[in-house]
Each structure stands twice: as structure tokens, then as C-alpha cells.
């Protein structure tokens, strides 16, 4: 009876900016770290804060070490006169998702999305244990690298990878990052031995501080703001059971599910920006998404080159959009993850207009 799924509104990423990811930024507050990227996306689009229809951000109080830490960032945005605004305590990729939905309702034509995280003040591996089941898992303090190592070992035991394959992922990512001025690691890391076997130093992401911002716009507005908008053809996110013990860690069914619903399998993509903080996770994701060697995976270097918590997922979307913007990709997949061992995953499919065709 209800006409379901009428044609969706066209929404695109029209600007993206990110800080260089750094191991420490003691001299900067979160707001000071964020401000340059906010200014950069506004400058590129010629928009002012007051022109933005909806603002949404992603960050974590646990990283900032204080409750309501996002309010300070909002002060930096300049929410005066008052703005229509929301915040997710998740990676900025999910803030982008909320903003995209908002634009789909037709209530806004533009959105500012930002995310930031400073991992340097705390012991990140310990902090992330607080994400775990507080009754049965968190009291054991299994840290993020240990859980990823469990996943990597499962992959090796299943005959799907070996340490050499993991090392190859690390080498390719860091080599690609040499062309990325924002990356934290831009050369293959020396093997520093096991962090948690079978994961070696090179298999793990750098710990760093960073921020990113994106501007979304709908329809003709997007075409006016950007020479080649990265149209969001589909976006979806799915979660899995929390306990690593009840999941097949060699697979990522939620990624595949999200990709299906985002339309990723309708036509091949030429680029994939995967949020795979650990080398083993890139292998899991490549398989789940059916990506072959024709797809450029993580040309930015990915999370293995820069992994600012809460922003790294949003950066995947931004990197994919930027690649479309400069004509290096026509159809790209962007992925973000959250939680232990790829528990929750988001997939977006971005496309540029065919060259020489500014769209309808």
C-alpha cells in the first residue's frame, strides 16, 4: 500500500579535509586540532557556518577523558546563531550517515560532518577494553591488539593467511602512504617483533591524534559547490554479536550485508578505502567484499598508515570522495569499522559523474 523507496535524493560529499595524523599533539586541545580542518572544508565550498543546514560530529568522551567533551568542539564550530546539530559517540563515519539521512528527508541541503580523537593522552589499548562487555569480558582487560591477534591467528589457522601475507599488506599500505602527506607512517616499518603473536609491529596501526571534516550537499547544490561531487549511491551499516567467541572471526558478514544494501555488488568498484587497522583485518574485509586485484585498495595507506580514533572511518569516506573528486576514481567503496574484531561495519558506495557530463 505504501509506495516504498521512491527515488532517493542525490547527496554527495563535496569537500573533505583532515589533519596530518601525529603521535602526540600535547600543544593542542581537541578544538585547536579540529579548527583548521573545519575552516578548510568551509573555505573550499565557500560556505559559512550559518549556511550549513545540519551539523553532526563523532567523538568519544573516553578518549578526551571528560564527560560532554564534544561541547567544546561545538563552541569552536561557532554555533551562534543556534544551529541544527547532533552528535554520535561513534566514529565520524556514523555521523556522516546520520547527516546523510537528514539530507534525504529534504529538511536540509547541506551538512557539516566532523570527527576527532586524541589517543595520545591515555593508554589506548587499555582504554579500548572499556568497550567490552562490562561483566564478562572487560574485567579480563583483553586489549585491542590482543583481540585482533586472536582474529589474525584464527585466519592463519584457517589457512587463509600466513605471516608473510600479513607483512605484504603492511608493506603495500605504508608504501602507498608515501604519497599521502597526512599519513603518520609513510615507509614500511621495521619488524619490531611480535606485539601480540602473530601480529608484529608492522601489522598494527600507529597510535595518533587527528581530525577530519566533510561537507555534504544535495542535488544541484552539490554541483555548484564542487566540480566533481562524490555522489553517495548507497550507504548502510550493520553490527554483529559482541562476544568474539560466538563469531566467525575469519569472516565479516556485517560488512558484506552493509555492502549489499549499499549496492556495492551491483557494479564493480575501482577503489576501496577500507578501515582495517590491522593487516589481518584487511584480508578479512577483502574477502567479505570480494575485492580482487583490479581494485585499488587503500591508496591512501589506510588505517595502517594513520588511525586517529573516531576519525579514521570518516577519513576513509573522505579519501574515497577526494579520489573521485580528482578524477582518479569513478566508483569507490568506503568502509568504516567499530568495536573489537570488526564487530560493526559501515559501507558507502561513491560515484563521480561521467567525465564531461555534469549530471542532469
Amino acid at each position: 500500500m505504501t509506495p516504498q523507496a521512491p527515488p532517493r535524493r542525490d547527496v554527495a560529499i563535496v569537500a573533505f579535509a583532515q589533519t596530518r595524523c601525529r603521535r602526540r599533539t600535547d600543544e593542542l586541545s581537541e578544538v585547536e586540532m579540529l579548527m583548521p580542518v573545519l575552516h578548510e572544508v568551509l573555505r573550499r565550498t565557500g560556505l559559512k557556518t550559518g549556511d550549513i543546514g545540519f551539523t553532526c560530529s563523532g567523538s568519544s568522551d573516553y578518549l578526551a577523558g571528560r564527560a560532554f567533551s564534544f561541547t567544546m568542539a561545538l563552541d569552536g564550530v561557532g554555533a551562534w546563531p543556534p544551529i541544527s546539530e547532533s552528535h554520535v559517540e561513534m566514529d565520524g563515519a556514523w555521523a556522516l550517515y546520520e547527516a546523510w539521512v537528514r539530507l534525504l528527508t529534504g529538511e536540509a541541503d547541506t551538512a557539516l560532518v566532523y570527527a576527532y580523537g586524541k589517543s595520545s593522552p591515555g593508554a589506548l589499548r587499555k582504554v579500548l577494553t572499556r568497550q567490552l562487555d562490562p561483566y564478562y569480558l572487560a574485567p579480563l582487560w583483553p586489549d585491542s591488539v590482543a583481540l585482533a591477534a586472536l582474529q589474525a591467528q584464527t585466519l592463519i589457522d584457517a589457512g587463509r593467511a600466513d605471516e608473510a601475507a600479513l607483512a605484504a599488506v603492511a608493506a603495500r599500505s605504508r608504501t602507498a602512504a608515501a604519497d599521502n602527506p597526512r599519513a603518520q607512517l609513510t615507509a614500511p616499518t621495521l619488524d619490531g617483533g611480535y606485539v601480540v603473536a602473530p601480529l608484529r609491529t608492522a601489522d598494527c596501526p600507529p597510535i595518533g591524534d587527528g581530525a577530519a571534516a566533510v561537507v555534504l550537499a544535495a542535488g544541484d547544490r552539490a554541483r555548484r559547490l564542487c566540480p566533481r561531487p562524490a555522489w553517495i549511491r548507497g550507504m548502510d551499516h550493520r553490527t554483529e554479536a559482541h562476544s568474539p567467541g560466538v563469531r566467525d572471526l575469519t569472516d565479516s558478514p556485517s560488512t558484506r550485508q552493509a555492502a549489499e544494501r549499499a549496492g556495492a555488488f551491483d557494479r564493480p568498484v575501482d577503489t576501496a578505502e577500507l578501515h582495517a587497522p590491522f593487516t589481518s583485518q584487511e584480508i578479512v574485509l577483502r574477502t567479505a567484499l570480494g575485492l580482487d586485484d583490479r581494485v585499488a585498495v587503500n591508496p591512501s595507506g589506510g588505517a595502517l598508515a594513520a588511525n586517529p580514533m573516531m576519525a579514521a572511518g570518516l577519513i576513509r569516506l573522505g579519501e574515497a570522495a577526494a579520489r573521485i573528486g580528482r578524477g582518479a576514481s569513478d566508483r569507490a567503496l568506503a568502509h568504516a569499522t567499530s568495536g573489537p574484531c570488526l564487530q560493526q561495519n559501515l559501507v558507502a558506495v561513491l560515484e563521480g559523474d561521467p567525465e564531461g557530463d555534469p549530471g542532469e
Partner: protein, 388 residues
Amino acid sequence: MSREPVAVVGVGQTRHVAARRDVSIAGLVREAAARALEDAELTWTDIDAVVIGKAPDFFEGLMMPELYLADALGAVGKPILRVHTAGSVGGSTALVAANLVAARVHRTVLTLAFEKQSESNAMWGLSLPVPFQQPLLAGAGGFFAPHVRAYMRRSGAPDTVGALVAYKDRRNALKNPCAHLHENDITLEKVMASPMLWDPIRYSETCPSSDGACAMVLADRAGAARSPRPPAWVHGGAMRSEPTMFAGKDFVSPQAGRDCSADVYRQAGIAEPRREIDAAEIYVPFSWYEPMWLENLGFAEVGEGWKLTESGVTELDGDLPVNPSGGVLSANPIGASGMIRFAEAALQVRGQAGEHQVDGARRALGHAYGGGSQFFAMWLVGDRPPDR
């Protein structure tokens, strides 16, 4: 392009109490969600997506709880989103969920907000000393008391108005089985004799610390048509934010609150809120915020809000019942408090509010605010589908 109309087809709450030591955090949220599904006569498989909200993660010591709660909320294989906009979060969460239906991304969405305050001490969680930041001065009361004092000075309201609000809300709570505080022997004298906490706010004029959760099932037109009980229709919803503090900020009646309600009324086609709205669930954590918000929301002229309270207009049998559920003053699971306002507004127009039902309520406002009076989320629900 047109928005899909959004209907509330299920509401579920826990019985809010000081400490739910009998359940885990997962058990607490599951209870509210199961009740909302039961109300909607739906099962977990009918739900397309889940949107949850709560105040700071420090309040339970659980970072990004959507990960751990995925199983308890039946979200495995589904999208789950977690919203955090300070005290307004319960309202914002419902609005984010409603947008998923309005944009036709999903047809049936479960939205839930919770707080298990007994896991920590929220007052001190809110009082972290931060270098170069204004200290919050011993909990939220320390922050809001000067603004209450400013309102009293500006409006010339008699000192007793705050006590009248508390006395009304605590009596309303006696009719609401979910309310945390059931003070059967409450009297106005007792409220006025209670200890002064943050002058001019007395102990009986403050919200309690509660464990609780609130859930709603939101659906599109087709879902509403199948609903076994009358749905509540969303006629308007909006969020507004402004900075914590700046020169010229009006803490008594923040611009963001005025803008937010104006946006909601515009969407709902409300020209005279005082006449056209039948009941309001307003976020009143300290008694004086009732008259303050009545003005901010356009129910009363500037400086006149206290007169509505004093003359009994906001009583359950008054002309504009405010917080018939007992409000935040009678139950405050912080992250859930905003959603409880939204859900109670929906219960009113569905005619499902039980003993605290406002007779003939057809349009009701749900309101939430948070941070330093800077985050606002509101919706207006009606017993009929929106005209446009």
C-alpha cells in the same frame, strides 16, 4: 520530495528506581525494549534498525555501549546507531530514529535511551575539573541555580513557585507506576521545609538519580495502519544547539530553545501553542525550570510563566497540564529522561497514559534539553496523521 509520516506504535519503560541491582545494563534496556515491542504487538524480527542514546559513557563506565548492547537489543545483523547530545539525548535519539523512517531508509525502527546511574556517581561525573574551563560547581544544580536566581529577579516571581512545581510533579508521579519517586505523604509544607541544596533550589525541588530505560517503536504509514493500538503521529521535530557560554548568552531563555520550538510549531502548523497544545512533557530537572521553559517555549509571555504555575494551569486537571507523568523531578535516568518526555507525550495522544491521562489530549509536546542550557530537542505528536 515528501517525507514519510512517522508514527509511534509502541512505548515501553522500566519502572525507574534508584538502583536496579537485579539486572545488568543489557537486562535493563532489554526490559524497556521488550515492553515497547509488546505494546506494538511486534517481535524483534519486525525491527529494521535500532537507535540508542544515553548521556556520557562515564556514567556506567562502558565505552560506546552500542557494541555490548547489540545482542540484547536484537541488533545483530541490523544497523545500530548511538546518539549522545548531553541531557537532550533522549529526545535527539528519538528524532534521529524518526528521520530514518521519514527518509524511507527504514520502515520500523526501535529507539531506546537509558541510564544506569547506580553504576557510578553522576553528580561527580559532571564535576570534573578541566583546566581552563569553567568549573560546574558540584553537579548540575550548582550550574543551574544562578540561572534560576536570575529568572526570579527578572520576573519578580514569588519564592514559592518552585515548591509548587515540585509539589505538583510529585503528586502526578503517584499516578504513574513507572515514576521513581512515589512520595505518598508529600505536602507543600514538606517541600518548602526540605534542605536548601543550591540556593534557591531545595532538595525536594531537584530530580532524583535513577536507573531506567525508555523505548519506542516508530513506524511508517503502513506500520501505523497495522498498529493494534492508536498510534501517535509526529507532527514536527527539531534540534537546536548553541555554545556553552559566550558574551550575551541568555541562560534564562536560550535562543536555541526558542528557535527549536518555533521550528517544531512551524512544522506542526501551530500558531498559538498555549491554546493548541493539550499537554506538555517538559524537561524540568529543577522545579523552577517549569516557568522558565513555559516562557522559552512560547506558552507564556516573558516574565509570566510563573503565573501559569501559580494559578494551577499546569496541574493535571489544569488548562495546560505540564508533566502529567511526574516529570524529570520524579524520575531521572539522565540519558533516558528526554525520551521519557517524548514517549509520555505520545502516550497522552494515544490515550494510553493510564491514571495520569489528560482528558482528550490530541496534541502534546515532548521537550528535552542538556549541556549548559544549550542543546534542545523537541517533538510535537498528535492523535491524527499530519496534514502534509
